[in-house]
């Protein structure tokens, strides 16, 4: 197990390096251009190298010669395809910036606890891009998600391939023991599906299971505030009956959805700030303290307060949600 894990991590870091050199869209265009240039007899050696890398990538994908870890995390696919699709959204659409990202440890396990908002959980994916692209150690965030995700076709296996897994005690403990960076949104559906009027007000934090996992593993808790996701799909109403009929936790009405159909699914281009607070240490506790409900509740409240404070500060710092227009 341990060695397979190491391999996947190494593969991941190697892959991340490549990704910086050849974004896939540029790689693709260089295939077309390079192919023609080749016939003209003029091929830049740099293009040639990129082309060779791209072909090697395609060959690995087609022949199935890549590794996934025991959770189904496909580091190469995540880095070269899925995060690549998210990057333009992160950089250019939301103009996302990270604040104090060095508060996230570089090598060891840690638990990132963040607020959840935005009707559609794009904040999870953006947090993943942030920690991969803006952290000096290019960390892979392993998110814990609701079981609803894993029942759905396509979404469930895509979630696993991008390194997410089910939010349960066993998986959280296992990932933290392996020294992974684990991300949780303790508000769950209450947070992501809250109405626009409740924006930047943290909802109740589940049962504190995430705190217990951190104590058991003795890893620090990094409080994280995501500002900007609240404005992407302002939820001003809820089609409750339809949502219940479809088995969904909610079905939002936003200024654009459902009035403009698919166009309503385009997120509004709010400005994002993702801030990471001082890590809250848990290693001074005994692992058995995870079974002390009083301690777990207190620590949960502490984390919640820190994140609410961070949210207020970052919101002030950001100013208008839609610069330069508003």
């Amino acid at each position: 197990m341990a060695s397979a894990h190491e391999e996947s991590r190494n593969g991941f870091h190697g892959g991340s390096h490549d990704a910086q050199v050849i974004p896939i869209d540029r790689g693709r265009s260089s295939r077309g251009a390079g192919g023609f240039a080749d016939f003209d007899g003029a091929l830049d050696p740099e293009d040639d190298r990129r082309l060779a890398e791209l072909l090697a990538f395609v060959r690995r994908r087609i022949a199935g010669e890549y590794e996934v870890d025991e959770f189904g995390f496909d580091a190469e696919l995540t880095d070269k395809v899925l995060l690549e699709i998210m990057r333009p959204l992160y950089r250019h659409w939301f103009r996302a910036e990270t604040v104090d990202v060095e508060n996230v440890p570089g090598e060891s396990g840690a638990l990132v606890v963040a607020n959840h908002s935005g009707t559609i959980p794009l904040d999870a994916l953006m947090l993943q891009v942030a920690l991969h692209d803006d952290h000096p150690d290019r960390r892979a965030l392993r998110l814990l998600g609701a079981d609803l995700v894993y029942q759905l076709p396509l979404l469930g296996h895509l979630a696993r391939k991008t390194g997410h897994t089910l939010a349960c005690r066993e998986d959280a403990d296992r990932l933290l023991r392996k020294g992974e960076l684990v991300g949780v949104f303790p508000e769950g559906f209450k947070g992501v599906g809250k109405p626009f009027s409740e924006r930047y007000k943290l909802q109740r934090f589940g049962r504190g299971g995430f705190v217990a996992s951190a104590i058991r593993a003795g890893v620090p808790i990094v409080p994280c505030a995501i500002v900007g996701a609240e404005e992407i799909y302002p939820k001003i109403g809820d089609l409750r009956f339809l949502a219940r009929a479809l088995g969904l936790p909610y079905l939002p009405i936003t200024p654009l959805f459902p009035w403009f159909g698919l166009l309503g699914l385009v997120p509004l281009p709010s400005k994002w700030l993702i801030g990471f607070g001082e890590p809250i240490r848990t290693d001074e506790y005994d692992p058995s303290d995870a079974d002390d409900p009083m301690l777990v509740f207190n620590l949960t409240d502490q984390v919640r307060e820190v994140i609410q404070q961070q949210l207020n500060e970052l919101r002030l710092r950001r100013g208008h949600a839609f610069p330069p227009f508003l």
Binding site: L51, A52, R59, G64, F71, D147, R160, L166, C168, E170
Partner: protein, 341 residues
């Protein structure tokens, strides 16, 4: 002290291989193999040489097995006689009787016996079921989110229940339960290996399960070791690492045909009805959600690690069937050769 070992299910591949390695061991006095049908002949059906194994034809569902155990002073029982698919003649009811009643008879005989000191039972990781609410990796203590309700997995859960009962009543006997992942290797004939032998693989649309295999050589070695030494408890047995079904398909150079799950179920039922292949509801669930187990307990207890990882086991299987990726990869190679020169 020389041992006398009873191996059940000796007419099938893994059982025969276990009997033959035990028979080759000088520390073992006698190996008695039992099964409901005689072992396949060596020359015609590709049977495994059983060495000095003495074969006794016993229907496990009958009390005859008690006489075999009493007559031969058996001290170690290796119970391999679990069938994973209904036999061609008989169907599910016969399979259930064979698995569950057979185990009850065998354990009943062991409980009466004054000589039996060690019992090793083959089980399966299918007892964990497969659901979207389960943790990604099962340890031996995991409670299945949705316990199996059909077929082989249900038989195996029931068998494990009787084995636990036996272990409680005979605390002086060392009882080992081995939960094997899917067997993979040149000689394995299972629903899964038959599945991978088709030219076009139906898969469930939108799902890409994580699979884990154990190579037949490793399975035999684990059974040999647990038959020779006391390792009481329940252990997962699987090769390191996982393969996604899509990876298996690509590595085999096959084509997959994604089918929405209701249609997949229907086709499975039709195929089963027509006797072409067995596709149980468990297999559909496995094809959706996959299953991965943790093997740390086995590695620690035996001080030994399976030689074949999951992907190495699958490679060995592909190699033995002459399926080695082939066309799609070769096309990319040709293309890259053409454009880069």
């Amino acid at each position: 002290m020389t041992h006398t070992v009873l191996v059940t299910g000796v007419s099938r591949h893994i059982g025969a291989r276990v009997a033959s390695v035990l028979a080759a061991d000088p520390d073992i006095g006698r190996v008695i193999g039992v099964d409901t049908v005689p072992p396949p002949s060596l020359s015609r059906d590709g049977g495994v040489p059983l060495g000095r194994t003495e074969f006794v034809r016993v229907d496990l569902r009958s009390p005859d097995i008690a006489q075999v155990i009493a007559a031969a002073d058996i001290d170690t029982v290796v119970h391999m006689s679990l069938v994973s698919a209904p036999p061609r003649s008989g169907g599910r009811a016969l399979m259930k009787e064979h698995n569950v009643i057979g185990t009850m008879q065998l354990l009943g005989a062991c409980q009466r016996s004054a000589t039996v000191r060690r019992v090793v039972v083959r089980s399966t990781t299918a007892v964990y079921g497969s659901s979207p609410r389960d943790p990604a990796v099962f340890t031996e203590d995991a409670e299945p989110g949705e316990p199996p309700t059909h077929g082989y997995a249900k038989d195996a859960s029931e068998v494990e229940g009787y084995v636990r009962g036996f272990a409680r009543r005979r605390r002086d006997v060392s009882v080992t339960t081995l939960r094997f992942a899917n067997f993979m290797g040149p000689g394995v004939d299972s629903p899964l290996t038959r599945y991978f032998s088709q030219p076009l693989l139906p898969t469930v649309f939108g799902f890409d399960p994580r699979l884990q295999f154990v190579h037949e050589d490793d399975a035999v070695e684990v059974l040999r070791r647990t038959a020779m030494e006391d390792h009481p408890g329940t252990f997962n047995v699987a090769g390191d690492g996982v393969l996604l079904l899509s990876q298996c398909v690509r590595r085999a150079g096959l084509l997959s045909l994604p089918i929405p799950s209701p249609a997949f179920r229907l086709i499975g039922d039709l195929a089963r009805g027509a006797g072409m292949m067995d596709f149980s509801p468990e297999q559909l669930r496995l094809m959706c959600h996959g299953r991965v187990v943790d093997t740390a307990r086995l590695v620690q207890a035996l001080g030994w690690k399976p030689k074949f990882s999951t992907s190495a086991a699958f490679e060995d299987f592909l190699h033995s069937r002459g399926m080695d990726g082939g066309l799609p990869a070769a096309m990319v190679d040709a293309l890259s050769h053409m454009v880069t020169r």
